[in-house]
Subunit: 190 residues, 2 copies
DNA sequence: TCTATGGTCTGACGTTCGTAATATTATGGT
DNA sequence: ACCATAATATTACGAACGTCAGACCATAGA
């Protein structure tokens, strides 16, 4: 009785969310229009409102999805501090800096999220908690709660460093920021 | 020969820049239209193009002005590390978090600046250099160059911490981030 | 096999808002 | 009174969000 497989809409919706995540991280939330987002997903603007109530609604789901994905990916690194050091080096790399579309959502969107409506901030809050816990668990596997503060510091320094490096027009300075960032993060961890 | 005092246009221009700085930090660059910016300055949109070639042109001047002002203000703190500690506590305060319009331009706009055209990034780069030098001079008055890396780390952690606190919908968590941020920053300094 | 169903998507539209540009008016020092 | 200047008001044009009627077509059921 139906034209599509019953999962079809869910699949489409997920594709919209994932493509929108890339686009937002590249061009910003305000900088990405509905038409562009839908065309990224291989659809036209008209189909958008069959999937989401509004752009804000999409943004909240994208933020949640992005953070969930990030936490899942971080969970696959080798365990404990060595894995965390890998993550730091990977995070503060020129590749990550130069490809925001497939990178950390916080580095790309954090200040814009701070200006979003509450639904989006709520989604971000949940994700941020999970990230902090993931980092804390690696800093102090035996007592993660004791490392919460340090985990927050490490995370914020990484995000700020990547953002700063992206905002600099002088490549030498931008590279220096990343290199010092790795030093600083590793020093701060210990 | 002229209707206004010869400085009049300069004064108006400066007023536009300063008001635009506040507006950008509150609503974002993409989130602020020319009409709003001009009405903030007590003018109408039509007068804009007598002062700036384009919105991008304004943005670059605003970024330069904001960073210049920030560096000047930081220069007035008491000298050396004690002054730096004051700045850290002031920076990572709920007041600063809750009033982005009169706060740090980096915390409010850094990721958006990373997506701006080169003129704006250049303006930001100059300002960032000055800030790093100001911090380094306080960390190691006798040899600022040796403290450059640490200054970068301190600055990025402060920016990231404030952004994170602003993006959280849970006030308790947001406050925790600020408090841990002060601890982390002071620990990192020494 | 054929057809009716109904979920999904298309594409055009209205309205609002954006940047940008131009024409016009108000002003006040010389 | 003149007239250079700065601001206003108006216009153009595109892009934004959101809406809608209808096209499309895979599949269930005859």
């Amino acid at each position: 009785m139906a034209r599509y497989a019953k999962e079809h809409k869910q699949v489409t919706r997920q594709r919209i969310i994932e493509k929108a995540g890339q686009r937002f991280k590249q061009d910003g939330i305000d900088g990405s229009g509905i038409s562009t987002l839908m065309s990224d997903a291989g659809l036209t603007n008209g189909a958008f409102y069959a999937h989401f109530a509004s752009k804000d609604d999409l943004v909240a789901h994208v933020v949640a999805d992005e953070l969930r994905t990030q936490v899942a990916r971080y969970g696959t690194a080798r365990p404990g501090r060595p894995g965390l050091e890998d993550l730091v080096r990977d995070y503060l790399s020129p590749e990550h800096r130069d490809h925001p579309g497939v990178g950390c959502p916080s580095a790309a969107l954090l200040d814009e999220i701070g200006r979003c409506e509450d639904g989006t901030k709520q989604a971000y809050t949940d994700g941020a908690r999970a990230i902090v816990e993931e980092i804390a668990a690696r800093l102090a596997p035996e007592d993660p709660r004791s490392a919460r503060g340090k985990a927050i510091g490490l995370f914020t320094m990484m995000v700020g460093t990547l953002q700063l490096s992206r905002a600099l027009s002088d490549r030498k300075f931008a590279d220096e920021v990343l290199e010092e960032g790795v030093e600083n993060a590793l020093a701060f961890m210990r």
